[in-house]
Every structure is written in C-alpha cells, then in structure tokens.
C-alpha cells in the first residue's frame, strides 16, 4: 500500500509537530520531577503565607501586596508548561533585584532625602520621641520615696510614699492594667523605720542588683497618676530611690501641625522642607526630625558647601593619586619581574612564582593589620629591626600625612604586584615569538623590542584589566580603613571627619557610619552615586576604546 490516507497523514504531522514542540519545551516532565517541584512550591507558598500573615498583622499593606505578587509570579512561572528561560532565571533574578538592583535604586533614592541619625523615620515617630522626651517637673508638687516593685505579672511598678503626707501609693506604667492608687490603709503594707513604705503584699521588691541591671528601663518608666497622662501628669524617677511628679512639656496640635512648649509657650511648626519642628520666633528646633525629600540639596552641598569643599578637593585628588599610583607601581614592578622571569633558561622559576603569589593569597584584610603593626613608630618591625632605629627616633610612618600616604602605597604595592606579575606573564607568553625574532634580525635592540613591540601589545591585551584594577583601587576601602583608618588627622567628633589618607569611599563610610556627630546617610548616598558615575564613566569610556564590551556576548 503506497497510497497515503490524507487523514492519517495530517494526524502524523500533528503528532510530529507536538513532539517537536515538546522537544523545544524540554521534554515531558517525569513524575518524580513534578512531585519535587510541587513539594518545593508548596513549601515556598506556605512560607509566603506565614510571612503575609505577619505583615497583615502589622498592617503593612504595601509589603503584603508585593509579597503576594512575587509569590504568584513564581507559582505561575513554575506551574505553566514551557517558558523555560524564566524557570532558570527566576531565582537568580529575584536575588539580583532584591539585593543589587534595589540597592542601586535605593541608594539613588536616599541621595535625595535627608535620611540620617537626625532624620531616621516618619514624622509620627519623631513626634513621639519629642513628646516622650520633653518633660518638666510639676512645680510645687510633692516628692516621693520610691521602692521599685514587681507585680504578679512580672511588670515593674512604683511603690511610693509622699514625703510630706506619708501617704503610700502604688501604680504601673499602664494606667488601665495597673492603676495608680492609694494603699496607705492596705493590710499587706509594711512601713519601715523611716516611715516610708517597705513592701506590699502581692509585690516583690527589686534588689539593688536588679535595679542597677534594669536601670535604663526604670529611668524610662512613666507612671501616670490619673487616667489621662497629659493632664494628670506622671511620676518619674531620676535615681531609682525617689520619684517626682512630671508632665509633658511638648503638646502637639494636629490642626496647625505644630508643637507648643508649655513651659514658655514657644510654638514649633513642622517644616516639611527640612524635616524638623522649628520655631520662627526663637529660631530653635527639636533635634529629632523625620525623613523628607530634599531634592538636589545633598548634591548641591557636595559642590557648593564651603566647609566641604576644602577637604573634598584634597580627598578627591588623593583618591586619584592612590588609585593611579597603585596601578602604576604594581604594574611596573609586575611587568619588570615578568620580563625577568620569562626566561626558559632560568632555574627555580616555579619556586619563585609560588612564593611571589603569597602576598596575593594572604587575605587582604589581614595584610592590612599586619602592616599596621609593622609600621608602628616605637617598636614596629620596620623601624626597629629593618631600619635599626631606636624607639625615640623612629619614623612616624602612620602619623605624618606624607609618610602615611607613602606607606599606604607601599603596602598596596606588596599586595598587588603578584597579580600584575601573573597577568603580564600570561600576556607576554601570548606574544608570538616570531615578532621578536624578526625584530632581532632587523637589528632591534632589546630595549627597542620591548618599547616598540612588546609593550604596545601588552597594553592592548591588559588595558581592560588595568582599568578594572583602577576601579577596584578607587574604592579600595579595606586597605585604607584597616591600615590607617583614613588618618592621620581627622577627628570623629567633627562634623566632617577627613584624615590625610582618606579616599572618597572611606570618607563616605565615616559620613554614614562614623558614629561621630551624626550619621548623614543622604549625603553619603549622594557621594556613592557620584563615585559610581566617576568610576563607571571612566571604565565605560576605556572599555569602549578597547572594545572589550563588544565581544562579551
């Protein structure tokens, strides 16, 4: 039978097309694979559900929506037949989005805010912190003898005796649960010899150790004496032994968005441009602010602030000196050694090479510490043993700006020359031998061969690596921060803490995390963005010129 039934032919075509499609999609899934997939998705969904519940309880609707959306997308990707690329890319892309892309954009966002230790959160939390901390004693009210006690639930309460009337009261910080009440006539009350309450049945008195251990908690306690803490006032203890009547001094008025300080009547209006409560009348402000958008202010400060300009120019100049100096010095030493050791006849090359790689293999953060120890002025290894100097006449390596810069470059040379040696050796060996041979025949001297043939070829192949090395050293935080801490000079108590060897990135780190006058995350992020632009554009231009990006894909 050679005739073909058209119907069965169509069927066969269809079946073949289906098989083809299956092949494209990656075959039909096995039962085991499907089970594993469903089990893992189930686990993931359960986790997401749990998280979503937690977020809902905290009323974080935005985050909940994001979580649900991400979970749904993941389920869709893995349950839908086909769509293979997404299946393989999803996990990585998720991490990349959360901790790299988002970090880049978030840095950009912070750069346009005044986020920092003075502007840490929302206006509500700032308001809360201000009103809670602005308290004044009620004049003319009595003072109390205080015994800090624990009630049956374990919560701390005040057991106080009025010095004037010897009436005894007890109460906790939550007026609804542990109301402040008089217990003078309570049969469980014990009065000491000094006429003050000693203990009360149902409460345990804290020992002195407990009081000193919980000092912070106790000094933050506000025990309201009436149902409305704002009008009735509350008891505070300055020392854990006595208590006094206090009231809130700062009262917020929502209608005018301002705080009134009751003791002198000064009005502080919320300023949404600066993120502070400020008083027009006296020029005062509360030093707890909130986060607001400040536009290009941080960038304007970088370029316009007189106080910043001086140190910044120095830092920028030194950053370039450091990065270029590091690349040049390591490259020259590495290249010289590579030329030297690239010699067939030389014995023991492998041993030399193995030892030379050690500085590069030794973790850089440890090297920085080791060199820091060796550079010590009085008993450091370099001064005392290598240079043979007495402790009094030691060279102050890390205490003088010029010397510290030399020291930093010396250390970086030690750290980096093996890398340059390795890559130039590789590149040298890739230069065809015929080139130098024919040059020799043409009568070129070794120096001419190097300068006119080898060096240009080396530079072509090594340029991208030299650029990466420049970019790396431009932000070489570890070596500077651990070796000199950016010093000498620089003072963490100043608003701008700039030392003699600070490069941009260590300066930025100190702005944000220095723990001095106050962290300024906004300004630090603006700097980060600028550094990225500087390094990025230098790299881009040079990569473009070496066409490295073109044959990437």
């Amino acid at each position: 039978m050679t005739t073909v039934d058209p119907m069965s032919d169509k069927k066969a075509l269809k079946a073949r097309a289906k098989a083809q499609k299956k092949l494209q999609e990656g075959g039909s899934p096995s039962l085991k694979g499907t089970l594993i997939k469903i089990a893992m998705l189930g686990l993931l969904d359960a986790g997401a559900m749990f998280l979503a519940m937690m977020l809902i309880m905290k009323e974080e609707w935005g985050f909940t929506a994001l979580l649900v959306a991400v979970t749904l997308v993941i389920n869709y990707i893995y349950l839908k037949p086909g769509g293979l690329p997404a299946k393989y890319l999803a996990p990585g892309v998720l991490f990349l989005l959360a901790f790299q892309v988002y970090v880049v954009f978030f840095s950009g966002f912070i750069a346009f805010t005044n986020y920092g230790s003075l502007h840490n959160g929302s206006q509500e939390s700032a308001l809360d912190a201000i009103t809670q901390s602005a308290v004044v004693p009620v004049e003319g009210s009595s003072t109390y003898d205080l015994k800090v006690v624990k009630n049956e639930d374990g919560a701390l309460e005040f057991l106080v005796t009025d010095f004037d009337t010897t009436k005894v009261y007890v109460g906790g910080t939550d007026f609804k649960a542990d109301p402040f009440r008089e217990v003078t006539a309570d049969p469980g009350l014990k009065i000491g010899e000094d006429g003050m309450a000693e203990s009360l049945a149902g409460y345990t008195r804290l020992t002195e150790e407990e009081i000193s251990a919980k000092g912070e908690e106790i000094s933050a306690m506000k025990v309201p004496v009436g149902a409305d803490i704002n009008t009735d006032g509350f008891l505070l203890t300055p020392d854990g032994m006595t208590a006094e009547m206090n009231k809130f001094d700062a009262v917020y008025d929502k209608a005018s968005d301002s705080i009134t300080r009751l003791s002198d009547g000064v009005v502080f209006k919320a300023n949404q441009a600066t993120g502070f409560f400020e008083s027009e009348a006296t020029g005062e402000r509360f030093d707890i602010g909130w986060q607001v958008m400040v536009g290009f202010n941080n960038f304007a400060r970088i370029f316009g602030d007189e106080e910043l300009r001086g140190p910044l120019l120095g830092i920028l100049l030194w950053t370039f000196m450091f990065a270029i100096g590091s690349v040049l010095s390591t490259f020259i030493v590495g290249l010289a050694l590579a030329l030297l050791f690239n010699d067939e006849r030389l014995r023991g090359k492998k041993i030399y090479r193995a030892i030379m790689i050690l500085p590069y293999a030794f973790p850089a953060f440890l090297s920085a510490y080791v060199w820091k120890g060796m550079f010590q002025t009085e008993h450091g290894f370099i001064n005392q043993t290598i240079l043979g100097l007495s402790p009094e006449s030691g060279i102050p390596w890390l205490e003088d700006v010029g010397l510290a810069r030399v020291a930093v470059l010396m250390v970086n040379l030690w750290l980096g020359f093996p890398y340059m040696f390795l890559i130039t050796t590789g590149a040298l060996q890739a230069i065809p031998g015929e080139l130098t041979e024919s040059a020799t025949i043409d009568g070129a001297t070794p120096w001419q061969q190097f300068r006119l043939i080898k060096l240009p070829l080396l530079l072509v192949s090594l340029a991208p690596l030299l650029i990466s090395s420049f970019a790396y050293n431009f932000n070489n935080f570890t070596i500077i921060y651990l070796l000199t801490g950016g010093g000498p000079g620089g003072d963490p108590t100043l608003r701008l803490d700039a030392g003699g060897t600070d490069i941009l990135i260590t300066f930025v780190y100190k702005l944000a995390f220095g723990g001095g006058v106050g962290a300024d995350y906004g300004l630090a992020s603006a700097f980060s963005i600028l550094i990225f632009l500087i390094v990025g554009s230098i790299s881009y231009v040079t990569f473009r010129r070496t066409r490295a990006l073109e044959d990437l894909v």
Binding site: G26, G27, P29, G33, L51, P85, Y88, L89, G92, L96, F99, Q100, V101, Y102, V103, V104, S107, I110, Y115, L337, L340, D343, R345, L346, G348, I355, L358, Y360, A361, F362, P363, F365, L366, Y369, V370, G373, E378, G380, F381, Q384, T385, W414, P418, L422, I423, G426, L465, Y472, F477, Y481, L482, Y509, Y521, A524, I531, F532, S539, L549, L552, V553
Partner: protein, 294 residues
C-alpha cells in the same frame, strides 16, 4: 660542530653566567624576601608570649601559648571561625547554584532580551557593594522589623546580601564555561527523551562539576575575606566573622594583643592560602578573565 659547542657552553665563565642569568636570581631572592617577610613576621609574632609587638628579632621566642588560648572553648575565636565557615559555605554553594541556573538559561535557551540581560548583568555588577552600604544597611534594618530572622545582626541577612552581589559576575563566568560544553550532547539527550531538568542537573552540571567546585572555592575565599559588609551587619561580638572579630583584638588601645591577633591571623589565613595555592591554575586563568580580586 654541535658536539663541540655543548661542552663549551657548560664551561661558560661565571661572569657570563652571572650577566645572563645569575643577576636574575639575585633579584629573585630580593623579591622572595620582600614577599615573605611580613608573613614570617606574623608567624614569629604569633609565637611570642608577650602581648605587645616589640620583638626585635624574628623567631626569638617559640611558644604555642597563643594558639592554645585561641582554641580554648571559652575564647570567641572558634565561634568567629564557625560563623565565617558557615556564612562563606552557604554563600558559595548558593551563589554557584543560582549562577549556574541563570548561566544555563543564557547559554542554552534562546529568548527575547537575552543579550540585553547579559549586558545588564555585567553593568549592574559594576556598582560596588561598598557604595551600596547605606542602602544595604537600610534594607536590612527594615527587614529587621518584619522578618527578624534575616534582618540586621543575622547571618542569613548577610548571606542574602552576598548572594545578591555575587550573581552578576558568577553568571557571566559560568556562561562562558557552559558554552564550552558541546550542544550536541544535550540535543542527543533531548531526543532520547530527557527533560530539561535532567539535562541541566545530570548532564551539564556533571560535565562542568570541577569548574563549579573551583568557583565555589573562589567565592568562599572572597566571602570569608570580606570586612566591610560584615562590619555593618553585625554588632555583637558573638556574631562576628573572623574578618571583623580579629580586628577587635588590636583595635582597642587598652588591650592590644598583637601576639594573640597574629596567631588568629595565621590560623585564619592558612586554609585560604592553601586553597589559593591549590587553585593557582584556575585563579590565574580566572584573573585573565578579570574575575577575582585585583
């Protein structure tokens, strides 16, 4: 003729040998001393039993006291080492797996935005994590409020940050390696009815297994040497990694203990240096690709 020349060469004068090769050995010796003395210095300091650094001569004293003290269970050193090993292991395994998945997609599958995706991976990678410190700190402190298990001061929080940061470069490197595996192999498997997961896990990953191992070890070296991210994430000494913890031994001006620090440094560096020397061949080829530190 040639038989005559060879003995002549052997007998070449010392002067000529020195001019051609001998001086290179002298330079080599200088370089060896230069490379080694800081390392010898730290080993020597770790063997002294004084707290300070005033040992004028190398190896003037030999005591294992510092090492014994460090490995004492009461000392935090072992804890720091444990933290470091945990964080670096999870990070290296995780990042290799994630990069391998992504690299498989880029290498074997054809889809819209593939080229753009690869390029943007490389570009995003250029934003150094040091510059994102503030943002990373902000994200982690926000996470602390919602999911404390991966917030500030947790190992998982730091691991997530490392994973996010390591992905771009890792994927690109791995993409290159996957491309060297002949496509005919997985096509043959496909025709035999293998699913894409079978091809990925049992064929491709097996074939590049040695490279995966090398990449995991490189990632381990890099992660365990990180100072700056670990220093902003952790604030309690029991959470520290070696990079952060060892520094605290000499940062406090009142209780500087260089000998102890040196012993710790030797213990921390030894495995890394050993790994590095063992992986030399791969690292050098990776370097030429501009992959590791430098």
């Amino acid at each position: 003729m040639s038989e005559l020349i060879i003995p002549e060469r052997r007998k070449q004068s010392f002067g000529r040998w020195f001019k051609q090769l001998g001086w290179k050995h002298i330079v080599g010796l200088v370089v060896v001393v230069y490379s080694l003395f800081p390392i010898l210095y730290i080993i020597s300091t770790s063997l002294t039993d004084m707290g300070g650094i005033d040992n004028g001569t190398l190896f003037g004293q030999m005591t294992l006291k510092n090492y014994e003290e460090l490995v004492d269970p009461n000392n935090e050193f072992l804890r720091w080492a444990g933290n470091t090993i945990f964080i670096a292991s999870v990070t290296s395994i995780g990042s290799v797996f994630l990069s391998a998945c992504a690299a498989y997609a880029f290498s074997r599958l054809r889809f819209q935005g593939r080229r753009a995706g690869l390029l943007s991976l490389i570009l995003i990678q250029m934003f150094p994590s040091v510059l994102g410190l503030v943002a990373i700190f902000g994200i982690l402190s926000a996470l602390t409020d919602y999911i404390p298990a991966i917030g500030l001061g947790t190992q998982w929080g730091l691991i997530l940050v490392y994973l996010g940061g390591s992905l771009g470069g890792g994927t690109y490197l791995m993409y290159g390696f996957f491309n060297t595996v002949p496509r005919e192999i997985d096509e043959a498997a496909k025709i035999d009815g293998a699913t894409h997961t079978q091809i990925f896990f049992t064929i491709i990953l097996r074939l590049v297994a040695p490279i995966l191992a090398v990449m995991a070890l490189l990632s381990f070296i890099g992660t365990s040497s990180d100072f700056v991210l670990a220093s902003i994430v952790f604030n309690k000494s029991e959470q520290y990694t070696l990079a952060v913890g060892l520094g605290t031994l000499i940062d406090d001006p009142h209780s500087k203990n260089w000998a102890m620090f040196s012993a710790g440094a030797v213990l921390a560096a030894a495995p890394i240096v050993a790994l590095f020397i063992g992986l030399q061949r791969f690292i050098i080829s990776g370097l030429v690709g501009g992959a590791v530190k430098g």
